[in-house]
Structure formats: C-alpha cells, structure tokens
Symmetry: C4
Subunit: 233 residues, 4 copies
C-alpha cells in the first residue's frame, strides 16, 4: 500500500473532472496535486486514457522531477509541473489542458482581454500569454524550460501567481494552478469560458471596450477582498 | 418547518433548470421567486454548487434586501433582485446568468437587434443593453445600484417591464424576469438562443435587415395579442 | 379510440425526434404527418412541451386547415402545413423548426450556397431562401400565405418540391418536407448540418468556390439517380 | 460462422466510435479495418444507421474492391478504401467522415495551417487538402479515382502516408488512416479538434504565426522520435 494514497486520490479525482467538464479530448491534459509536507506531487501517467485511470496509477514525483513511486511513466509535462511547484511554494495543484478556446488564444499568441465581470470575478488583468520560447530553450530541457518561461513572463509583467492563477503559453495551450488541484481544475474551466466569451465579444463589436477599472476593482473585491461577500466563508 | 416551503420549492426547481439548460458554469447564476402576499422572495445561497442545493437551503429575503430566514448567505446579487421586486410590483421571478452568448453581447455593449420571428415571438424591440454604471454607483451600493441601472435604462427607452422581460447589463451579463420564476428561466434560455442566432446572422450577412414592422406586429400578437392563437390558453 | 391512431403515432414519433436531434428549444418546432387516403394530417398541438406530448394529443386537421379531431388547438403554423399538403400532393410529412444555424441563414436572408458533397448528396442547388412576405400577406391570413410564399418562391426559381425538400423563409426559419414525416425530420437535421458547415466555410475562405457541376451531378446520382448505389435499396 | 469475425469485430467497434465522438450525423461516415494476411478488409454497409449495425453486418471486400462476403452492399466509398489499402501496404484502418470543422476546411479548399503543439504532436506539416478532381475522373470511376487523387496529392507534396495520416479532399471531406482502425478513428477526432482550433485561431488573430520549426521538431519527437517519451511504450 502506497504512503501517498491521499494525494493520489486527490490527483485522480481532479484528473477525472477534465473530461467531465469538456476540457480534454483523449489524453490531451494532466493534473497534479502536491503534498508539501512530503515534498512530492502526484501526477497523471503519460498517455493513459481517462477511462483506464485509477488512483493507484498516479505517479509520485519530487520537485526536481524525479519519480519517487509508480510503475508508469509520468506525464510528458511533468518537469513543467515540478519547476512551478519548486519555485511557487504556496501552490498545491497544477492543470494543463488543450481546451479548445484557450488553446486558440494561445495559438493566436494574444493575451485574453478583460471584457466583463465574468473575467473580473477571477482576475483583474488580461489572462497573460507567454511568447513561444527561443530555440535554445526548446532544443534543451524543453518541459523544464516551459516552467521558467511561465515564471519569467509573470516577472516581466509584474504579476503575482497568487493573484493570477492562469496563463497561456504561446503556440501551445493553457496552464492553471491554485492552492488545491480541485481549484486549479476550476480555474481551467473558468479560463475556457472566458476565452469563448472573449472571442465572441470581439466578433460582436471589434471595438469592444475593456472592463472599467472601477468594475474590475468591485468584482474582484466581492470575491477576494478583505470584505468579500461572495460564497459562504 | 419553514413557513416559506412553497416559494422555496419554486425557487429551487427554477434554479435547477439553469444547469440543465446549459445556462451556467459552476455557480455563475441565480434565480429568485417572490411571494407577494408574504412580501418576500426565496433566492439561491451564494456560491453553493447546484449539485449541493436543496429547497431548504434557499434563503428568504424581504424586498429591502434583509434576510428573513436562512443560515446561508444569499446570492451576492440579492440586492439587485430586491430592488426590482420592490419597484416592479407585478413580477414574481428573476434570473441572472452569465450564459455564453448573452454575456458576449453584454460585454460588447450592444443591444441585440431583432432579426427574426424567434425574437419577434417574444418581444417587439431589440433586447436592451444598459450601459455600465458610472464610477460613483459602482463604488457605492453596487448590487443595489444595478437594479436602478436596469430600471433607469428601461425608463430612458420608454420600455415597459411587462412587455420586455429581459435586459443585458453592459460589461456584465443578462437579467430576465417574469410573473413566475419558471417563466423567467424560460426567458433566460430564449435570450441565449436569440443571442446566438443574432451573432451568426451578422456573420452570414453584415447588412442583414431588421425584422419588418408588419412581421414584428404579427408574431407578437400571435402569442400575446387580444386574439392570440398560440398555445392552449 | 381514434380512427387516426396510426398517423398520430407517426406524427408523435417524428416530433419526438426534434429535441433528440438538438433542433428545437422548448416548443419552437412542429412536425405533421399526412394520411392521403383519409385526406388529413396529424400535427403537434400548439405550445405543448415535448416531454408532455403523447400520440393521443396529436390534432387531426384536413387539407383546408379545419380541425377534424382533437381537444387541443393545433400548432399555430397549421395552415402553412395545410396549404403545402393541398398543393403538393405527393408529400407526406412537413417539419418546421427554428434550428440555430438554419434560422441564422433565414434571418440573413441568404440562400445557403452549395459548397460541398454533404450538400450535394441531398440537393443539387443552393438551399433556397424565400423573401419575407409583403405587408398585405402578413396582415391577412399569415400562416396560410406563408405556404403560398414557399410555393411561389419554388415556382420563381423553377424548382421542384420533389427534388428540393427544404426552404428557408426569410426573417423566419426553415421548413422541410418529404414523403414521410420521418424523412422530413431527417431533412431538417441535414439542413442544419449544411447550414453550420456553410458559415464556417465562408469564414475560412471568403472566396470559397461552389461545388463543381460534375461533382454535384455525381454525388446526387450516387444517392438519387437511376443507377444509385448508396444505401441498401 | 464467418471466417472473418475478428476483423469484422474490429471494424464494428471502430465504426461505433464515430457517433460517440460526435464525428457523424446519421450515416455520414464509414470505417474499415484490413486483415493483411487474408488480403481483405471489413467495412460498414452502405446507409445503415449506427444503431442498427452489428459486427455480422460488416461487409468483407478484397483490395480490388470486390465483395468477398456479406449480404449487404458495402459503403459507397468502398473503392476509395480499396485503392488506399492496395497501394499503401502498411496501413490497417481507414476512416471517412463529414465531421463539421474538417469538412468546412475541405469545402474552403485550404490546408489546415500548423498553428500549435496540438497539431505538432501529430504531424509536422499542414493538414493537406487535395484539390477537387478534374471532370474526367469524376465522370469515370469516381470513388476509385478519389483514392488516386489522395495518393497523387501526397506525391506532389512529397509527403509520406506513414508520417501524415490524414487529408482533406477539396469540396468533399476528411479521410484518415493508420496501422489500425482504432488509431484511424483517433486521427479523425484529432483532425476535427485541430480544424476547430485553427479557424478560431485565425479569427482571434488574422496574422497568427505558424508554429516555430524548433517547436514542430520538439513536439513531434516527443511522441514519435527515436527517443520518444510520451505514453507508456
């Protein structure tokens, strides 16, 4: 019996939400869940169809990307997860999908403009889009460098990963994170909904204005401010 | 046992229609149902997932927005509902969603043009879009002011809330209402269908003409006129 | 026990296909099935939700639009059905929907161009779009005149209703027909699929060429010609 | 009892995946599976609804297109399958669909540009689009010539059918293939997902850049190179 069953169960449950929410086709996505006390995370094995997944099959990996437990090869994106867990010490879950609308914005290499309160309820800036990596990074330790590309883009924009829990990687697809894997999956679904609304908004009005600063502030504080009054907590 | 179980059951049943009709993701929507004799309405608690809702969990609120019964915090949009119930005395149900196409038009800050009889069967004018509120209103009692923004836009256009039972709030999303919560949910689904058809219509023909006045009149009277011959009543 | 149970069962089964195929929201559609020997057709009652329909509730109407049997009011579009049955003596089923893409083309008042073999497998011309009726027709016996508007547009284009079993009515929505109600429902689903592909085709290539004449001929003859070799008959 | 039950079962199972994956409406698609030792393939009978299919009903055909076993007429596209099996000796399954987005690109007569890693995980070039055939080919043995049109287009572009397992036929629709029927169905679903993302990408950014060469190389080698590290093999 594994010493990591709790975190494996969390990672398994979160992975199984992706097809249910319509965020993945076949195996095009992966979720990990971290156990900070044990210094590891549980992640989906590579290329295994969701209907064949079990909690036992989750692979345990440390924050340097080394497999600690598991007979299956971990997701090919494992090193990206490891880098983010190592450097962003307060996150507990990461999700990568190729969801349709989010991926289209990533392929278009554009940040998703903040057009309305659906967006503003979750973050106060455009959803950032990191540029594709330079050729040296790609030829090298690609998935490892993807993690740095994400962190560097946050630094260059002055963003905090605690306030903005999602990014597009140019030419590639979205990544999201949160304190828990469950919340990171929630963020992936929110990103996809916002991405679809944003393209429709531009199609309806090519000059659609961005959300007013006062509304950005108000909606974010409703959910996240000191006097938040959304939800039951 | 609550004295308000009847209206709670109505509000619960209407809320549960939203995910079934594809109008909400997670908790992005709320329905209320009013009991005019008792001077209260039942509304969804804030941030509770639809699968965890029960009739008992509905919160009872008076038309000034004060909670009358319930252990959970009511929807963060409760004051908007309260204002509309207080001033529009003949409505019995209100729905707020962030449905995909309706929200895209709201973000684009455009009224939805009346292009065909699907629209004309329900209202004879464009679906109105209130402008975003000014900064003072937003900084103040925001949800309360949202109700006034809706009513003021109806006044400025000379519209009757009895004839036009839906609006977009610019940068935000749709609100609908009706004599019952069930009918208000119906209106939300109709708005979403019309919103999708309207963007497609403009994409197929950028110069698509509006519905002819004679057809507007005919289709509306089929359903709503003195000699209505649609339905069984 | 009704003398018309056979045709009522056919009409009922065909009506129930509409929500299953995603062609209707709420009650926005109707199917009828004709019994030529008895000189009547069975049609959906007006405004009754699909989940409440039964075969017994279908209304029996003659080809002049008079109700022959049934306690419920027939569909508000009944006279359009009656006119088409009366004048096109070889059709046995008619369908009217407000399906999303078909209705968008009708609202855009454009015929759907024949862009590919999916279209060519079913008809050799653009899916016609009748212009909105003139005001006198609308003010008069509107649904009755809708039938004539359809027939007149076919005459003006030199089309045969035996070869082209579908039309858009401008500002309104699609109508389809066939020898049976079941086949007419099939035609409605085909129209909707073609309508969606056609708008996407124009979006991908604003100058997309029409299907070549030789391909139109070939694909149509595969299914409908003297030497047809599609299907099992 | 048929001597071909194994391959019939494979073809049946693969055909039944098409409606489950949303790739077909009614009977608009067909899958075949080849048994190279026996020199035959099993293919869907023509025009039979998926809900009426059984493994027994699959038709056995040789690589010249002659029916070897079966009471039903094989798919009208059978000769296209036969030609490809005869000339491309290492493929074991072929799929033809009229899936919505893939067909729209085929109708637009454009190859699908490689915009991102979702595409690059599967092939390193644009998804090719063969031009419509010339009139002589169409008038002649049409489905047989469709196979040659596909092969000729691959030759003209210098593509290998082992590396690129999908094509659009202009004005018509997609064809995919692979070593097995199951994998060919997977390719059809991948093509449809890529096709949808590509049109959205162009709508979000009309000047969206193609995937960088270094990223194309990296993502393809992750899955297909000598040092592949995707999946469990």
């Amino acid at each position: 019996m594994s010493n990591y069953m709790d975190i494996k169960e969390q990672a398994y449950a979160a992975n199984m939400q992706l097809p249910k929410l319509g965020l993945v086709l076949f195996t095009f996505g992966n979720v990990s869940a971290a156990d900070r006390n044990k210094g590891i995370f549980a992640i989906k094995p590579s290329g295994v169809p969701y209907e064949d997944l079990t909690a036992e099959k989750m692979v345990i990996v440390d924050f340097d990307g080394n497999t600690v437990e598991g007979n299956l090869r971990p997701s090919s994106d494992t090193k990206t997860h490891a880098v983010l867990y190592k450097h962003w010490e307060d996150i507990g879950g990461i999700v990568h999908t190729h969801s349709t609308y989010g991926t289209a914005w990533a392929q278009a290499q554009r940040a998703i403009p903040i057009f309305g309160t659906t967006h503003g309820d979750h973050l106060t800036v455009d959803i950032p889009c990191a540029p594709p990596m330079d050729d040296e990074m790609i030829k090298g330790n690609y998935e490892y460098e993807t993690g740095f590309q994400i962190m560097n883009h946050f630094k260059s924009l002055g963003l905090s990963h605690k306030e903005v829990e999602m990014i597009l990687v140019g030419n590639h697809a979205p990544f999201t994170w949160a304190k828990t894997a469950e919340k990171a999956v929630y963020n992936s679904a929110v990103l996809e909904a916002i991405a679809q609304m944003a393209i429709l908004t531009e199609q309806i009005n090519a000059n659609a204005p961005r959300l007013k600063d006062s509304l950005i502030k108000k909606h974010y504080e409703r959910k996240h401010g000191a006097d938040a009054y959304y939800g039951q907590e």
